[in-house]
């Protein structure tokens, strides 16, 4: 098997020395996974190298790290596919979580968020007593299947821009897990789950970063969007959900009546008169206030829009 020499630059870290980069050279072939690269470095060159890895087959979720800046599982990354034109690879620990040593981070905060969403099925009492069967349709199973595939690797939370700025956001993984039970017909705690998840869902910025980095294709952002589909069934009111309701209802109403969105109306209805006026002053100062009066034609064939938007389910 043809082998190539590669250089692996690892950002090491410990409490005493802080963070520093160290380079290692070794040979890899076209099958060599990054977990194997790290194992060889540790056993042949630097016993002090600290990293986590276990299954080597994307099941255990232990070997999460940044490889060339991309949040990845080391076991799913083939070294020769990851090298740059100089045959180099940069390896760092995940963002967001506190560093423990080298590539190891403390992901307690990930588990805390997971725990908050009641990540277990709460079945009906009659089922627990053996009087009834747990049943779900194949369609229902398909709907929740994707969202239960999480391997707790923590990559989505490490890459999420909202989690970093907003402690109250439960983060992508916990939302996928939480939604998986909202949409499971066997679960009995839907309204409690909506109480847990709805405010947090509107703290997601829908940037698809979690979808992109998830090694299991869980698509957490889609779970968050599907959670928001239940806003009408959510009975609570937080400042976030009150504003989101105003905003989303205005968007829907504008499309239903004109086929298009007019931002100036949207601003006014979402933020209220005071804040919208402040925006108007900013626009005046920037010379762009005239654009607030841009009048685009409504959709001509509004029947098409209305018929498409009618209640079907």
């Amino acid at each position: 098997m043809e082998e190539k020499e590669i250089t692996v630059n690892i950002k090491k870290y410990n409490d005493k020395d802080g963070a520093f980069w160290k380079s290692y050279k070794l040979k890899a072939d076209k099958y060599t996974q990054m977990t194997e690269v790290l194992r060889r470095i540790k056993s042949e060159q630097d016993p002090s190298l600290a990293y986590r890895a276990s299954c080597h087959m994307a099941v255990c979720g232990s070997c999460s790290m940044k490889i060339n800046g991309i949040p990845s599982l080391a076991c799913r990354t083939i070294a020769l596919q990851a090298v740059d034109e100089k045959n180099e690879i940069n390896v760092e620990s995940m963002d967001y979580y506190p560093g423990v040593r080298d590539l190891i981070t403390d992901i307690d905060v990930f588990y805390d968020k997971m725990y908050k969403v009641m990540p277990r099925l709460i079945a009906d009492e009659s089922v627990l007593m053996g009087e009834n069967e747990q049943r779900m349709t194949p369609e229902n199973q398909t709907e929740v299947w994707k969202f239960q595939e999480c391997i707790y690797c923590g990559l989505c939370v490490s890459a999420c821009p909202s989690v970093k700025e907003d402690e109250q956001f439960l983060g992508p993984a916990a939302h996928a897990k939480g939604f998986r039970f909202i949409d499971d017909v066997r679960d009995t705690k839907k309204s409690e789950r909506l109480d847990l998840l709805m405010d947090s869902a509107y703290r997601c910025t829908s940037c698809y970063m979690c979808y992109e980095v998830c090694p299991q294709d869980v698509q957490p952002v889609i779970a968050i969007k599907k959670t928001k589909n239940y806003l009408d069934q959510y009975k609570g009111n937080t400042p976030i959900t009150i504003m989101a309701r105003k905003h989303d209802d205005t968007v829907e109403n504008l499309i239903e009546t004109t086929g298009k969105i007019k931002e100036s109306t949207l601003f006014l209805k979402t933020f209220g008169f005071g804040e919208a006026m402040r925006d108007a002053i900013d626009m005046l100062k920037s010379g762009k206030f005239k654009y607030a009066f841009e009048k685009d034609s409504n959709v001509k064939n509004m029947n098409e829009i209305k018929n498409m938007m009618g209640e079907k389910k």
Partner: protein, 291 residues
């Protein structure tokens, strides 16, 4: 060359300058932008939060209109509109339960089943793939030599990459290539693919503004004098909204943010005013000898 053109609500509203600049440079590049007949809002980022089937139907209606016009490609200057149409078409193709609901809605609106015959593309993809960087360079009358431009991509243009498909979600270079074509110096910065926070303006504005500030600060820290982005909604968040950001973070600096076709327009010889720019951008450019 003729291309079906979906301007999107923002660029026909308070981000009108996006449309103005795009139309101007398209003309110079012999791109005839054929506005989609009777197009509707794609509901990008919000309608799928309410109802996925309604969202998909609204987007497929636009794509069917494009097909009826005889085109197999629809270009839009807005990353959110792009993402919305692409994700909707992808869901329609791959989710049979959703497809059933959507087909009924299309039928109720006297429309046909959609056959996935139209590809949604970002206007900058058309610039790179169909017009060509070399061709753009030939139209540059005023090279923007020496101006350092932070090249920002944002989220919806790149992700999910298995649906968007044009370039790497982590190492993109489309905006950089276009900036280089104008003669300006493209500046990559760590947060070039992070979200600008606009989608949170409707529910959690303080965090939304923090995200926008993270982008601007990251670009500035790498030496950018201005920022260029590819999205009508990023434009709302990063241009005029900077006044809000300045107030929230008590900041005394601004980083003028231009839509990518505004920068290209400058290099083609148009004035900042012709390109519909905001006062802050016009003043900064004047200080750099461009008016």
């Amino acid at each position: 060359m003729k291309v079906a053109y979906y301007p999107g609500c923002a660029s026909h509203g308070i981000a009108k300058d996006v449309d103005i600049a795009t139309q101007l440079i398209a003309k110079d590049l012999d791109l005839e932008l054929m506005e989609v007949d009777d197009w509707n809002c794609c509901g990008g980022g919000f309608m799928d939060d309410k109802n996925e089937a309604v969202h998909a139907s609204l987007n497929l209606r636009n794509l069917e209109k494009v097909e009826k016009m005889g085109y197999d490609k629809m270009a839009t200057p807005c990353s959110v509109c792009l993402n919305s149409h692409k994700v909707a078409a992808d869901k329609y193709e791959n989710d049979p339960v959703l497809k059933e609901d959507v087909d009924q809605r299309l039928k109720d609106a006297n429309m046909e089943e959609y056959d996935n015959g139209v590809e949604s593309e970002h206007f900058i993809w058309v610039l790179i793939r169909d017009v060509g960087i070399e061709n753009i360079r030939k139209h540059v009358k005023r090279p923007l030599t020496g101006i350092k431009i932070g090249t920002y991509y944002g989220c919806q243009l790149l992700r999910p990459s298995n649906v968007m498909g044009f370039e790497s979600a982590f190492n993109p270079h489309s905006v950089m290539d276009l900036v280089a074509a104008t003669g300006a110096t493209p500046v990559a910065f760590p947060m070039k693919t992070a979200c600008c926070g606009f989608p949170l303006m409707g529910s959690n504005p303080p965090v939304a503004l923090k995200m926008a500030n993270n982008i601007l600060s990251s670009a500035r820290n790498e030496g950018s004098e201005m920022l260029v982005h590819p999205c009508s909604l990023c434009h709302l968040q990063l241009d005029v909204t900077q006044d809000k950001i300045q107030r929230q973070f008590k900041q005394d600096w601004r980083l003028p943010a231009l839509y990518i076709t505004q920068l290209i327009g400058l290099s083609f010889g148009y004035t900042p005013k012709q390109l519909g720019m905001s006062k802050g951008s016009i003043e900064y450019l004047r200080s750099r000898g461009i008016s």
